[in-house]
Assembly symmetry: C2
Homo-oligomer: 191 residues x 2
């Protein structure tokens, strides 16, 4: 997706250790129009899979997941990391490694919204190691719903997440922009 | 806003102690089309104030703030509750009481995105005590930007947040749906 790639080339910052700073347009300040374009493109990639729900993890997945859901005309669910008082005790739970705090973070989804008959498209901002997305996929499994695709805005292909997920889930995996290398302060885009 | 009010009447649950469960369409599962309508209505309420940024707090403010920003054709910023590694050390910080964990929660915004010349519209899902919104307003003050309005989806008027905010900030405060009473398991809507 040229629009997103151009924006990363212009505003993205390589902070080292594989950390890409995109908080002026994706995950702190959000360019609402860019998010709509991103959602339309992700929806187009996965419309053949006929998702009935989009699933993401709070926090930075919410914006692109919402716009993708809008374009697909389905609801979006964001897995919570802390159980709100409104969530039933029998929530589906799994764990993913935490990027910010070390250790692991819990992901919770209510059985009231993720149903056995659902066809679920997982959307997140980044595909890096794939561990958060794998946790979301296990929540889909717990619910009895069917995972039908995995889509992200930015794939850091050098972290191997695609291979990790593909080894476990036989579903289409798509990203709008691929970054192949971030060594030496560079941001190298894939084909 | 009739569409939102009807939805709350149909799917909202009064869990007692003033807790309104709306997690099937607002803050766990999100109805993307309803969020677009909500964003258009909030944008209409505040377009005369000419905001240049929408500001919200993660997590459940993100969806309505994004759609409001889209309708206003401006970016949206969500204040973070945990400092990401990409955020500079000199972030604006303030504190709000935590609903889920007790104690208080920190709210952080980067000076890179909230600028002294900005005209800021605060959007959140609920107006209850107004304490989280007040913390966002203080972040606006720290940055030197100008607060131009406060909008929410659902106001629980019996919690007094509007009076609390109005006593400190001379800006328009608007909500799409007002709930005046939640005693005895009821959900009583305002005019």
């Amino acid at each position: 997706m040229q629009e997103l790639r151009d924006r990363i080339a212009r505003e993205g910052r390589n902070l080292g250790r594989g950390i890409l700073k995109v908080d002026s347009f994706i995950n702190h300040q959000v360019d609402a129009h860019l998010m709509m374009s991103v959602g339309r493109d992700l929806a187009r990639l996965f419309s053949n899979a006929h998702p009935t729900k989009v699933l993401t993890a709070e926090i930075s997945g919410i914006a692109p997941a919402l716009t993708t859901a809008l374009a697909l005309d389905v609801p979006v669910i964001y897995a919570r990391k802390t159980r709100p008082v409104t969530m039933p005790d029998d929530a589906y739970r799994d764990e993913a490694p935490s990027h910010t705090k070390g250790g692991s973070v819990e992901l919770l989804v209510s059985p009231e919204v993720l149903l056995p008959g659902d066809r679920v498209l997982i959307i997140d901002d980044f595909l890096a190691s794939g561990r958060t997305i794998a946790a979301l996929a296990r929540l889909v499994g717990q619910s009895g719903a069917t995972l039908v695709g995995i889509g992200t805005l930015i794939e850091k292909s050098f972290e191997g997440g695609r291979a990790f997920l593909a080894s476990q889930y036989a579903v289409p995996i798509g990203s709008l922009v691929t970054i192949t290398d971030m060594r030496d302060g560079q941001i190298v885009f894939g084909e």
